[in-house]
């Protein structure tokens, strides 16, 4: 085994921007001679729960779409369990992984196909409203930012301990609106990195 000590290991490695050129490495799609480790489709055939699509656009401080952002989501399954051994309740053989990645397109648009997550307890054992964690990366962002996606048709939002610490007038920036239509339900949430209706980002 190799030596793991290095003089510089006191303190974490700082973040740097993902830059403008990450696409061929992280979200190549069929555009580059490389393959995707992750996609924006989290649905697996064995996953129980409601199939949903989450859509939105990312805007900068001038209201211009951000065509070079990367979004990553992390969520529980429909029973509120995470596909991580640290969640002791997780079913080890469940195919649902709960992680997805999506680059924005030229209109700043993103989409995830997933299932609606169940409730997860907070550290006091109090149920949180169903939510998805979202990390935002882009050129111009020196560190990625964390936010959450909540669902507009959930009564549990009223008692959610995280929404409760967000000022009333900003809470709507975290709540995706359910749209009616054919096919799987669509929840829409735009992200505004700056300015009026700036999305709430969390220090986690």
């Amino acid at each position: 085994m190799r030596e793991t000590t290095q003089e510089t290991t006191h303190g974490i490695t700082p973040s740097q921007t993902v830059g403008p050129f990450f696409k061929y490495g992280l979200t190549p799609g069929d555009k580059y001679d490389w393959n995707d480790a992750f996609t924006n489709n989290l649905v697996t055939s064995d996953a129980s729960g409601e199939r949903i699509r989450i859509e939105g656009r990312v805007f900068d401080g001038d209201g211009q779409p951000v065509p070079d952002a990367m979004l990553e989501v992390w969520q529980a399954d429909a029973q509120g369990r995470f596909a991580d051994p640290k969640d002791q309740r997780a079913l080890p053989n469940a195919a649902f992984r709960g992680f997805g990645r999506c680059g924005t397109d030229e209109n700043g648009a993103y989409a995830f196909d997933t299932i609606k997550p169940g409730q997860v307890a907070d550290p006091d054992g109090k149920p949180q409203a169903p939510h998805i964690l979202l990390a935002v990366f882009a050129r111009g962002m020196l560190r990625h930012l964390y936010t959450r996606i909540y669902f507009g048709d959930e009564a549990a939002n009223a008692a959610d301990p995280v929404l409760a610490i967000v000022p009333d007038e900003r809470r709507a920036t975290l709540i995706a609106a359910r749209e009616s239509g054919n096919g799987n339900p669509v929840y829409r949430l735009d992200l505004r990195l700056q300015g009026d209706n700036e999305t709430v980002f969390f220090e986690v």
């Binding site: 190799r2 793991t4 290095q6 510089t8 290991t9 006191h10 303190g11 974490i12 490695t13 700082p14 973040s15 740097q16 921007t17 993902v18 830059g19 403008p20 050129f21 990450f22 061929y24 490495g25 992280l26 001679d33 490389w34 393959n35 480790a37 900068d60 401080g61 001038d62 992390w74 995470f82 596909a83 991580d84 640290k86 992680f99 997860v120 307890a121 550290p123 949180q128 939510h131 990390a135 990366f137 882009a138 050129r139 111009g140 962002m141 020196l142 560190r143 990625h144 930012l145 964390y146 995280v162 610490i165 967000v166 990195l193 700056q194 999305t199 980002f201 969390f202 220090e203 986690v204």
Partner: protein, 233 residues
Amino acid sequence: MTFAYPAESNRAHPAPLSPAYKSSIKRAPQKPLILMRHTLSELTGPVYGHETVREGDSDLTTQHTGEPLGERIIVHGHVLDEDGRGVPNSLLEIWQANACGRYIHVRDQHPAPLDPNFTGAGRAQSDASGYYRFVTVKPGAYPWGNHHNAWRPAHIHFSVFGHSFVSRLVTQMYFPGDPLFEFDPIFNSVPDEKARMRMVSSFDLESTQPEWALCYRFNIVLRGKNATPMEQK
């Protein structure tokens, strides 16, 4: 093992707004981040192992019919937590410019040649001790238009997954002694000098392979430390 993620560790990161880096001006939030307690959602994270890493993905010099031009290098090190323990089975993704400082990305317009034998993307998984290893070519510096005569120091982009979603890291690895450091607003967006230097790899003569490749060591320290209080000396 139970990990704690002290918020203070985040002080190593750049502030969202760093005006010298012009792209941050319209993309940095103006309102303060809201500090929240970690729940199970934050304390878990994607557990990714070997299945996304294919044979040969960690060698960027063998992805095409011929060898890429440039200086062949080995980049290796450990993914560590804040206690200095290796983070096993961590997924590392890298991407970089070629030896001439040109990315294959369609929007890179730098008038330097593309290399048909170099894509510039790689993937590896840390082993049980947190160790990882890539073979690639040393990327070139390139101009980027942020200000007059702006050049990025040579760097390799790293994307790393750790023990939880809050230990997620995207960073850039630099090379020791680069004369461009002092002029680069992205490198200097990290306020603390010691923290900045943690992004700089060290030349590793011992692991250099004679007649074949120079070697650089880059240890990556992710958030997360033992939650059990250590005995105070």
